[in-house]
């Protein structure tokens, strides 16, 4: 039975610590880029945005929104536009798989993604001498000129599949497959699971009326759901409002 892996992220429990970002980079052999890199040229397949409610003084509050590839299911924008099918939706898992060895680096997919979840290797990766020994086996290192993004910690899925196969099972044990971000989250704000499995609590949370997705009306059907009890945070799922001087700012 094919799975549809997705996440439910409780924005009321995210403290913005950034553990998910570092764990993601470590798992996926993302290098620390040269000092010239900025927040617009960096590679952060998991990126936590700091946002505010636009109020002043004692009413000012922030929230933190972790954003990864939304694993869009319907008319996936990046899959539709890649000229050489270097990105595909895996029918067995629902994960949008990027193949860096086929990527031409034309960056059309990056213009197509409304969630800005794709990152280009503007530099060749480099590590200080000896540090390459700490690279995660099972995850290839990408050179410059290719696009990359969250791929659902595919090495961990492979490991779970190998473990299941070694035990003679067809299906993986869900406890064996947990992406780095969900594992790293200290408060359990990021929950990962199979949305196609009705018994999975993540699937139930995703289908509850409390869950929402970013830019839902674009019709891309993302599989990353968010929950929050704060109305101003829920409002952030809508498109950019451009409210003039009361703009919701990206911190």
């Amino acid at each position: 039975m094919s799975a549809r892996y997705g996440m439910v992220i409780d924005l009321d429990r995210c403290t913005g610590c950034g553990a998910c970002m570092v764990a993601c980079a470590a798992e996926n052999n993302v290098p620390a880029l040269p000092p010239k890199a900025t927040d617009r040229t960096g590679i952060t397949p998991m990126l936590v945005h700091k946002v505010s409610n636009g109020q002043e003084g004692a009413e000012f509050r922030e929230a933190f929104i972790p954003v990864t590839c939304m694993q869009c299911e319907h008319e996936t924008p990046c899959v539709a536009v890649c000229p050489q099918q270097a990105v595909q939706v895996d029918p067995a898992t629902g994960i949008v798989m990027q193949m860096p060895q086929r990527c031409l680096g034309c960056r059309y997919c990056m213009t197509a993604c409304p969630y800005h979840a794709r990152y280009f290797n503007w530099w060749d990766p480099a590590w200080p001498p000896g540090m390459e020994k700490t690279l995660n086996p099972g995850v290839s290192v990408r050179m410059r000129g290719v696009v990359e993004k969250c791929n659902g910690c595919h090495a961990r899925l492979h490991a779970a599949q190998e473990k299941a196969a070694a035990a003679g099972n067809r299906e993986i044990d869900p406890r064996d497959y947990r992406p780095a971000c969900a594992e790293a989250c200290a408060t359990g704000a990021i929950q990962f699971g199979n949305l196609a499995d009705e018994s999975d609590p993540v699937s139930q949370a995703a289908h509850s009326t409390n869950a929402f997705r970013l830019l839902e009306r674009l019709g891309t059907e993302p599989k990353i759901f968010y929950t929050s009890d704060r109305p101003w945070v829920r409002q952030l799922a809508e498109p950019h409002p451009a409210r003039g001087d009361k703009e919701v700012k990206h911190g």
Binding site: T15, M21, P137, G138, V141, A184
Partner: protein, 544 residues
């Protein structure tokens, strides 16, 4: 037969056309897809099989448990262990040992030297006068070696308190108990009133308060001049001007005592509620309401992050001293240690452990022997001595500061250290051969645990100590990642006395988000947080 230019051109044209009909050019083109798959100079990970091992993070005294993925003797990934959550920096810690700032060579006044030079100088100093030893992660086996050395040499061993212990210092003063034996019983608290302690972002183990808070069982009230991440996420943020925290504490105590909504008994503070409202800018009614919340939603405990006695004293009124959910004293006694702030006297030399913050400055005229795994730059130490780095030495993990129960664990070494590093314990053993080794101390501690028959080992399952057949079995379980956990603290084990309401002390500067991180350098991947994104501010005064 003559070969003309035309013949050559015809032949060339024909050959080209013919070549296109062979597989050769197409195969070469296809091969470029393999050549371009990756450039030869791009590093590739090892192909060795991965083993998952258990250990404990030793980069700060919280000692969070880890699952470490290891391939051919090198850690290739860090995950939280079953009991814990990790701080953001821990996930990049396995790369720290190859940080460009890694110390690999002894240096004396900026020039390369050898261990023998350092030993000679240290032996000479040890003969000439008393040596001060400074340790920021006390009660490890290695700490015991250092303490032993100082005692035998006629010097002084002192410690640097962690932030959690500094906040508990007033209760140590009021009770006479060692500050290192006190803790907060957050696990049974329902309300925490934090005066400036960044509980959700860099105070105590990340798996402790953040986890309790995220279950919704804990009401967090943050008193702070500006909106920290903790204040932002708290149930209530009470914004007060810096320096007026003591006034708020006094006002709350007054309400609790005057309205008799707290069962505790304590002298009334000199400040009235109206005066507290005036000094803090918080309305009187809000102060009253806050106090009633503390009483109604107990057990409640107040934290004075600065260790300001005038704020800590609020706990008398709340009734949390020695009570469940409040300030407790753990069963294990343990000695009182001298703190580095109170180090007096003239010393010939100072030996600083690698766990001590980089900006610690000992007295001016002593010869400084500074152990460190990473060079934070600008050190005024005479000797920089390369120490083992992350998971490079076997050590043990004493109880985390501020914990309500005693724990003990052994952090296995999972990474091969560079050839020329030495821990202080190893160094001191060469100066004084009568000193015990770290391994011996660990063996002894395990035997002692076995002998006491108390507590349990938490691993895959929880096993009471009494079920272990031999101390070696117990030690083996500890070495493979189990944690010894003591029974709950004695109720009423902490008794504090105070006569009069303390004067407030000056507030400390707000720590930045890297405050709990001890090494002077950050893991390379930390740049994802402040340079390759705008999630956090760049760390202040830290070598990156």
């Amino acid at each position: 037969m003559e070969l003309t230019r035309r013949d050559l051109l015809t032949w060339g044209g024909g050959a080209t056309a013919g070549l296109l009909l062979t597989p050769l050019p197409w195969k070469v083109l296809d091969d470029t897809s393999k050549w371009t798959q990756n450039w030869p100079w791009i590093p590739q990970p090892s192909r060795a099989p991965i083993e998952v091992k258990r250990s404990f993070c030793t980069l700060c005294p919280n000692g969070c448990d880890l699952r470490v993925r290891v391939a051919s003797g090198t850690p290739v990934g860090v995950s939280p262990g079953p009991q814990s959550a990790l701080c953001p920096l821990a996930f990049g810690a396995h790369q720290l040992n190859w940080h460009p700032g890694r110390l690999r060579q002894v240096s004396h006044l900026g020039k390369a030297a050898s261990w023998n030079d350092a030993l000679a100088a240290f032996r000479k100093a040890a003969v000439e006068g008393p040596i001060a030893v400074v340790d920021a992660y006390p009660r490890r086996a290695g700490s015991s070696v250092m303490e032993n050395f100082a005692r035998r040499q006629g010097g002084t061993y002192c410690i640097i308190l962690s932030a959690e212990e500094r906040s508990l210092a007033p209760y140590a003063a009021w009770s006479g108990a060692p500050v290192t034996s006190l803790g907060y019983d957050f696990e049974h608290a329902r309300t925490i009133l934090s005066f400036g302690a960044p509980l959700l972002d860099g105070w105590g183990a990340p798996g402790r308060v953040p986890r309790l808070w995220s279950t919704g069982a804990l009401k967090l009230i943050q008193v702070e001049p500006s909106l920290s991440r903790t204040a932002n996420a708290a149930w209530r943020w009470i914004q007060v001007p810096s320096g007026s925290e003591a006034a708020l504490a006094a006002g709350l105590a007054r309400v609790l005592l005057e309205e008799h909504i707290s069962p505790a008994r304590a002298p009334l503070p000199p400040t009235t509620v109206a005066e507290a409202a005036a000094q803090t800018g918080i309305a009187e009614e809000t102060i009253r309401e806050l106090a009633r919340t503390l009483a109604a939603h107990g057990p409640a405990v107040a934290i004075a992050a600065d260790g300001d006695p005038a704020v800590a004293v609020l706990n008398f009124a709340v009734g949390s001293i020695g009570a469940r959910g409040g300030i407790v004293r753990r069963r294990e006694g343990g000695p009182s240690y001298l703190t580095a702030d109170n180090l007096n006297g003239h010393f010939r030399a100072v030996l600083i452990d690698a766990t001590v913050p980089w900006d610690f400055a000992p007295q001016a005229d002593a010869e400084v022997f500074r152990f460190a795994a990473w060079n934070g730059g600008g050190s005024r130490a005479h000797w920089l001595l390369p120490a083992p780095g992350f998971l490079e030495e076997l050590t043990d993990v004493p109880t985390a500061p501020g914990s309500a129960v005693d724990t003990y664990a052994i952090a296995a070494n999972l990474s091969t250290p560079p050839a020329d590093v030495r821990s202080p314990a190893g160094f001191l053993a060469q100066v004084d051969s009568a000193l015990p080794s770290v391994e011996d101390i660990i063996h002894a501690r395990c035997r002692e645990l076995f002998r006491t028959h108390t507590g349990a080992l938490q691993g895959e399952e929880t096993v009471p100590v009494s079920r272990f057949a031999a101390p070696e079995r117990l030690e083996e379980a500890l070495r493979t990642g189990s944690v010894w956990v003591a029974g709950p603290p004695r109720s009423g084990g902490l008794r504090c006395r105070f006569e009069q309401w303390p004067q407030p002390t000056a507030p400390r500067a707000t720590a930045d988000w890297t405050a709990t991180w001890v090494p002077p350098v950050l893991p390379p991947l930390a740049v994802k947080l402040y340079r390759e994104s705008s999630l956090r501010e760049p760390p202040a005064g830290r070598s990156i």
